[in-house]
Symmetry: C2
Subunit: 567 residues, 2 copies
């Protein structure tokens, strides 16, 4: 499964589609010139191609395992982690004061996407560290920052997130892990956490857990939760890993995919922890981590989609069958249809992802509330559409391979198995959709309306030169606007939630049309315009059915009783 | 994973939706009264619930394996096969003269669907035998029929289909297996075949292979292919398995799912075979087998969809989370959306499947060419939509489970992995779609138009009582009619093939609307009408986007060169 990093696609998107120039023009990111960014992406791409891609299959065949309580990672993963760390790819957007590169999120997002395409199981490890770095930068005390951030950024230590408990899945507020003050400023953490990605490894000196737990005086629900940093080994006076903390990996999950990534059940038995942020304000700190993690998971979907697309295309170009001009299946109309759908959606989902990252960067660099609102609006779309694209493209990749797609040796099936979880973790896609129509539209749909205005303005501007592309994009946007107004006029949130996911999908379809149109405008006689034409003619029309479902309300969903559902 | 056979759903469909009464009114199937059919379905359902469902997970955990050339099946599979055989479920539609029950295909289809829901890996074994029984009944000599059919129908022997070769996948005409006449009426078969489902087992006395091969004077391509029956053990003068034939299982495939079903590479080294049908007319005989196998595979998709739906619903009804009336996730709007989509599509795909089977039965019972054309038209739709429904519903089932869906112990993942192959084997869904817009519309779309007339007539009739359901069905049908006319007016087949799969999906959506409307008419104030309302409001609108893609033609698909696809 050779993987080729799509550097020229990022360059094109940065320059022509997602407005990265604005980021590079800010003082905060003044060093991120297009030359610098290209050099960084090229370097990261090489590492992905040469170091990470060869680890994809070994991780599947020889999963991480627990031997007498010691976690053993898949063959080559330690070397892979070291290469990621040495390249500086963990702390790309980390604060330079602590060894980070201080790069824009857009660049980190592109690199994360490439790493996901090359080897999703391993990429999840630095993604977890990145989330922890971000949370500590925003919420931890200076003492913690100085001790932990350099180690996390260098990759000597790794980071994890501990939210889920058996009885508290998506409902984090139901957690029962406890924290008791020790009287010396530290806390004693007790409880069990499940689904902890990379809860341990055998290639870092220390593993640092961010754990949500409730203090004795914590209120029930999410408002009584605090966040603690709980290291595997307690740092000694020199900041080196000292005595083992009272925590352990109880077991690893047996999963459908992502075998190289150990998914741990963690047990904390009075483990020593340090408060991050304020008491009872753990959810706020966790949200910092989760928002970027959601963007990161969206990028995992896009990355796998790219990997699966390249893999299927390579097969289609070499598989001889039937009497076609090339003699291979790439000339068959339905194979073409599949490849074009894959490619057009990789582009659309990547553009949404990078536009989201650009909005995060602009918000950070300018402090502008509109940019922050744009970033917040796009995050659930980037997460859900990115991961659904990953799943759909990987599924289509299996189909392109015909019978060989079902055989594990081919590799198509692994993409399909691995990527499936991305629609579930970091908030299921259903929760993303509820976030979109709920929290992200508490402004009455203002941020959404601003974005739709921009989309229509671009389409208006393109009417003269590309009427057959601009027209459908404009009309789809109008339909989306109507649906948005209908949704935001529903005070009963159940009415909104009933159509939330189809609405999110339609929003993504329209955004895809917008970005494809931007690409066509920049490359009017080239392949970008041809791909845009296919997307707008063949895939954008899907929005109509989705918007009908989005506005159907809750009545039909609840028409059947539980008993009637079962008959 | 308990499974409950949906007997009442079949009874409702037979009576109110797919017109099974017509079948029971024919002389050929006069014995298939509704009481008899109900008793048969109930009996089969019990076997599926009690014997087959418990074999689902063991087959996944302990796959069939090859030990020193001997095939060992999964634990309990031998007992499972015996129960299927003893119930008479292999030869349900087989000729009573040879021990079959002579039942309508509609009944067999329902039973096959239940067996698929309970344990897909094992169900594939009797499905292969059924195909062979059908092929021999139609094409074999009386001598072969008398020798083989009783054994196949009783389950003492099993049957397989051998089409695919490494260099000849979907392009069967490219095969290179050879047959040499032995001069005594038998033939010597040499070649390698791949992807042979249940190519061997350890619970039948004999395994009978139907093998496509080319005689020395066979023309190249599909017109020079002949069909041979090649048993594992050559029957002695008493018809008992005698000396071993010159064939063997070389290896088993390592697959993403369906682990309990051994997928064999078969090697024939001058194995003794008997001609079935005429020399060089093997494809015609094979098509008999394939057409019903396609219906059978569509039923596999529907069955897995039912199994995955029941499994997800059970989880949703017991998983406590959040503040809902029931305290469980079944009350969350997005979980409801998923469950309703699953249930509505199980119904739609099952109705299409059974309507197809009814058309086959009517064609057989009456010899009416219109019924034969109806059956031929519906087969690719039933296969492709049934299997896509299986995949989509299983995928949604994983999602309903949240994080637990990705954990193998839960069972949701197995449905997802197992069912994936159904969109590929027995002709990929792309090939089904080409069959629909190509071969099945050689009549200029006449058979399709007749069906659309019926759909519109029902909708017209329902306008008075259910205008809000009848209207959208009528309009969707008109859109489908326009698309059908557009497609059939394209002389360049590539233009048709370019939109073939979206067209097939839209056709299925409209048929689903038609059958849901029929159900609503029969149960206007009950749960059937409520489910129909959801389908017609929320899912039927998808046809619009699909039909836009169906009529987009080939130009966009071929706009990018192979090099441009890769950039």
């Amino acid at each position: 499964m050779p993987y080729r990093a799509p550097i020229s696609d990022y360059e094109f998107l940065f320059k022509n589609v997602v407005g990265f120039d604005q980021v590079a023009e800010t003082e905060r990111f003044a060093e991120a010139s297009s030359d610098v960014v290209s050099a960084i992406l090229t370097e990261a791409g090489k590492m992905c191609e040469q170091v990470m891609a060869p680890l994809q299959r070994p991780g599947d065949l020889e999963p991480a395992r627990l031997e007498n309580g010691v976690l053993r990672t898949s063959p080559g993963y330690a070397e892979g982690w070291n290469a990621i760390a040495e390249g500086g790819w963990i702390g790309m957007s980390g604060n330079p004061e602590y060894g980070g590169m201080g790069l824009p999120m857009a660049v980190t997002t592109a690199v994360n996407e490439m790493m996901s395409a090359a080897c999703l199981s391993l990429q999840l490890a630095p993604l977890m560290s990145q989330g922890q770095i971000e949370a500590l930068e925003h919420h931890a005390s200076d003492e913690i920052k100085e001790l932990y951030l350099p180690k996390l950024i260098s990759g000597e230590w790794s980071g994890t997130m501990n939210l889920t408990e058996p009885q508290a899945g998506s409902d984090v507020g139901a957690l029962s892990s406890k924290a008791e003050p020790n009287g010396d400023g530290t806390y004693s953490i007790t409880g069990q956490k499940i689904f902890i990605s990379w809860g341990d490894n055998d290639f870092c000196e220390n593993v640092c857990h961010l754990v949500l737990a409730r203090l004795p005086d914590g209120a029930p629900g999410t408002r009584g939760i605090s966040l603690f940093l709980v290291p595997k080994f307690i740092p000694d006076e020199n900041g080196n890993p000292g005595v083992a903390n009272d925590l352990k990996v109880v077991s690893l999950e047996h999963k459908m995919g992502l075998h190289g990534s150990p998914t741990c059940v963690m047990q904390y038995d009075g483990a020593k922890g340090w408060l991050v942020g304020q008491e009872h304000k753990g959810m706020a700190a966790m949200f910092t981590m989760m928002n970027n993690a959601r963007l990161g998971v969206g990028g995992q979907g896009v990355g796998v989609a790219e990997g699966a697309y390249q893999h299927a295309l390579a097969y289609a170009l070499e598989r001889k069958q039937g009497k076609t001009p090339s003699g291979t299946i790439v000339d068959h109309a339905d194979v073409r249809r599949m490849l074009m759908e894959m490619k057009a959606d990789v582009f659309a989902s990547r553009a949404i992802l990078l536009a989201n990252a650009v909005a995060i960067d602009m918000a950070q660099a300018t402090g502008d509330a509109d940019w922050a609102a744009r970033a917040a609006l796009l995050t659930p779309i980037a997460k859900a559409f990115g991961t659904e694209t990953g799943i759909r493209v990987a599924e289509t990749g299996v189909q392109v391979h015909g019978g060989m797609g079902f055989i594990e040796e081919t590799g198509a099936a692994q993409y399909y198995r691995d990527v499936r979880v991305t629609a579930i973790y970091e908030g299921t896609n259903g929760i993303q959709a509820m976030d979109l129509v709920g929290r992200k539209m508490m402004d009455g749909g203002e941020a959404a309306a601003r974005l739709l205005d921009e989309i229509e303005a671009q389409a208006e501007g393109a009417r003269a030169t590309m009427p057959e592309l601009a027209g459908p994009v404009w009309e789809a946007t109008e339909s989306l606007r109507e649906a948005t107004e209908w949704l935001t006029s529903q005070d009963d949130m159940t009415e909104r939630f009933a159509g939330a996911l189809p609405y999110l999908r339609a929003f993504a379809r329209v955004l895809g049309g917008h970005f494809h149109l931007a690409a066509a405008l920049a490359d009017p006689d080239g392949p970008r315009a041809k791909l845009a034409r296919f997307y707008i003619n063949a895939l954008l029309p899907e929005h109509a059915g989705l918007l009908a479902q989005a506005q159907n309300g809750a009545k039909d969903l609840y028409a059947l009783s539980a008993d009637e559902l079962a008959v």
